[in-house]
Symmetry: C2
Subunit: 178 residues, 2 copies
């Protein structure tokens, strides 16, 4: 026994998150994940049963949206989202996979409906249009992540956090409350 069961499971999960985030579902092979974790591929199956179940565990994700004053929600959301993206691989895992995998897309819709929507409903005094408002916010924030981190358009990748907050906040604020 080199490691405890829980340790090994955690090591595998960390390697899986990295690989899924960098390569997406299909290109992140069990063998590659196992190699990163310095372990036999069979162990991955032992601990997680299936590649799909491993992915489900790796894609566990909480946006942890903070409470926000209505008039500063735009800036607050943009900044929170940028930092969350860089601190937690979960979002990247979901975006890289959700584009070609229906289960991951469904997961993103669930996060949207369960975490973004309620926040927006609370912020805006416009219950009827809140769903559309929330999805407009999501479209701008996901477009940001896509162009900055995934496709890496040079001007977007080179911009500072403050520049992006300055440019995007009015947009998000308008989608929320105007």
């Amino acid at each position: 026994m080199r490691r405890s069961s829980a340790e090994t499971k955690a090591v595998i999960l960390a390697a899986a998150r990295e690989r899924f985030a960098a390569d997406g579902y299909d290109k992140a092979t069990i063998r590659a994940i196992a190699a990163d974790a310095r372990i036999d591929p069979a162990m991955v199956m032992r601990y997680f049963g299936t590649k799909e179940k491993l992915f489900a565990a790796a894609a566990e994700f909480d946006l942890e949206l903070p409470e926000l004053a209505p008039d500063q929600a735009g800036a607050g959301l943009v900044r929170h989202f940028l930092r969350k993206w860089e601190a937690d691989e979960g979002l990247q895992v979901l975006l890289r996979t959700g584009v070609t995998n229906e289960a991951a897309a469904e997961r993103m819709r669930t996060i949207f409906a369960g975490q973004v929507m309620p926040l927006v409903i609370g912020l805006t005094g416009d219950p009827e249009r809140a769903p559309l408002r929330a999805s407009l916010v999501a479209s701008q924030l996901l477009g940001l992540a896509l162009s900055r981190y995934i496709l890496q358009f040079p001007p977007m990748a080179a911009a500072t956090e403050e520049e992006l907050v300055a440019w995007l906040s009015p947009t998000v604020q308008r989608y929320l409350t105007e």
Copy 2:
């Protein structure tokens, strides 16, 4: 000889575009494309040499950006982009693939640099910040496509073209000229 060489090539290419657009690069197999085209997989190789070359042909794409008056560029761009997306599978092919495939991402950067940037430089009187402005526009338009067509957030997928133009135009206009 059932068909002419050019006909067959066109049939294969059409099937390939559909499959790549729906499934992305990896899941769109040569065998599936060939089945759609009612042809033997070997024909695909005969006509296109390699899966990569077939993809390159299927991802051929021109945004066909129109000339736009500076004060109506926001609305014009949003509307043009929405229609282009629905009429031409090329963009969908690129987005579905560019997220996990570096070559396709590079292609998107090239289209961005060669087609979007020049338009924005012409529209704005701000040559220094034009690259960032262009990528902000791209982020909102790609985020729109992502949330409406790929992830299919219900409020976004259900919105009408006019609603989306009304909401997004001011954003794009501001990124361009404000």
